[in-house]
Amino acid sequence: MLGLNKRDTSFLIIVILLTMFTPFLMQPFSEGSAMAQFNGGYPDLMAKVAIFGIFAMGFNILFGLTGYLSFGHAAFLGVGSYSAVWMFKLLTLNVFPAIILSVIVAGLFSLLIGYISLRRSGIYFSILTLAMAEMSYRLAYSVFTPLTNGETGLQLRPGDPRILDAADASRYPNLFGLELSTSYKLEVLNHVFTFNVGFYFCAVIAIIAFYLTLRIFRSPFGMMLRAVKSNQNRMSFTGLNPRPYTLAAFVISGMYAGLAGGLLAVMDPLAGAERMQWTVGGEVVIMTILGGAGTLLGPVLGAGAIKYLENIFSKINETVLHSWFSFMPDGMEDVVVSFFAFFTGKGWALTLGLMFMLVVTFLPGGLVEGGQRIWNKIRRKKPDTPNNNPAE
């Protein structure tokens, strides 16, 4: 189906199902229970996971397949966001023109940066991309303020021209009139599930992006990219110039980043310069490695893990901890709470750092390898389980 073999088709279907049921999967705990704090099924987080999943998927096409480690992909994310918001301001709040422009502009920008950076390899390439992204960030924050609105970020204003929109059209990003912020809530057995138009929009695009990634992985082009990573020497002694292949991968991943940037602006029409900072570019590197570089699902898992940790752990403050451990005797409760407070709330970054260290040390293949190990253990216990292990 869709040019995929049977195994990949079932893999794609599983991914589609997982994505479509995200509002349930990320909301496992009932309202009011102590564990409700860990529910992540609200629109913003779900959409962020989808968007950063796209970002990481694209990055993985470059890094996972060719091995070129770029620290500058934040620049394309930022450029995508700026393009989308400008489109909102000038033309229309319909999301399609904005997203299309984001992808195009990011593609052109990555062509320029890729053309220059790919003249070098290894750490020299990494530093070139880092330098260009950091330059973009700093200029966007200061000198380019008329274009980017600097520190405050580019945002919508009532006075924007929006020449294609009717006077009574929606004032928020919309899908032909349907506002992306519209949500439907389903209350079942004390669970509240939120179905948000914006999330499903991002989810559909993420699935399309995933499908394209799958096709690229399975294509001769994908094979060539892996060949670049494996042995550039043999590649050129086989009559193939690696440069166009790496550049194509760079531009494709830049376009994915631009798409993600555009979607960020669609979900929340504000584009800030911080999106271009090297820390954001570093974040996508981390997502990809954490999930499993070069695997199909790994980068998405990595993106989910980091965004979840950032948004959920940072909200577990001492008051919440006290409410969890209130059953303990007073002195003990304080000790336990102050221990956990070290890792949650304002200490969430510590947990993040520890997680990087543990995963990289013990699971060199990232979270996907962890999943595989667990799967293998289960399989060894039940040898008759069918061998269905598509998340390679």
Binding site: I216, R218, S219, P220, A227, N231, F237, T238, G239, L240
Partner: protein, 252 residues
Amino acid sequence: MSILEVENIGKRFGGLKALDNVNLSIKEGTVHALIGPNGAGKSTLLNVLVGKLVPDTGSVMFDGQSVLGRAPHEINQMGISRVFQTPEIFGDLSVMENMMIPCFAKRDGSFRMHALERMMDEKQIVASAEEMLVEMNMIDKREMHAAAMSRGDKRRLEIGMCLAQQPRLLLLDEPTAGMARADTNNTIDLLRQISEERDITIVIIEHDMHVVFSLAQRITVLAQGTPLVEDTPDNIKGHPKVREAYLGETAV
């Protein structure tokens, strides 16, 4: 008719003369061996031929066209393939994929995306890759991780990958180094077959004189970056200067 003309090649590394005024003419359809002690400049010469090194002086003409100043992949496209001393294959890819890449290169030497095509839909390429694997006697290993194979198998694969491109000139850098005697004999047979059936010119660097004298029609002896003598194997065997300088220390 000579296919490769090397004239006055000189290359210095700092104060060291790696190649000094090398002249060489390779006849089409022959097996030509380069021998000489370590450091004689054999590998440096090969590196010049494939575009990995740019010489300080001289010219290299392949089939009437200059090779110098071209990138390695362009030289390869002209019809020169090379087998390295340590096998250079795509270790992270399967054996089949390793073989498909030169088949692709043969068809699309210049860059084409193929990004949304299915690899297995490339029937012609799959077929020719499989054919080559059969010929190399490796078809049963097609799904194997290339890096996991034995050294001998890697060498066979590399030779197969070069042949898949149907080159006119094949350069081999010590193809039997570190091989057991049986493997060496297999390799000799393979190379002889290549030379005779496929009409491919072969330049081979080799220390094992058994291999050299079983295969070569012409032999050039290099010493200290410069050709000492060039002749047929029989004459080389009896050449006093060569015996003294090189073969004297080697049991023939």
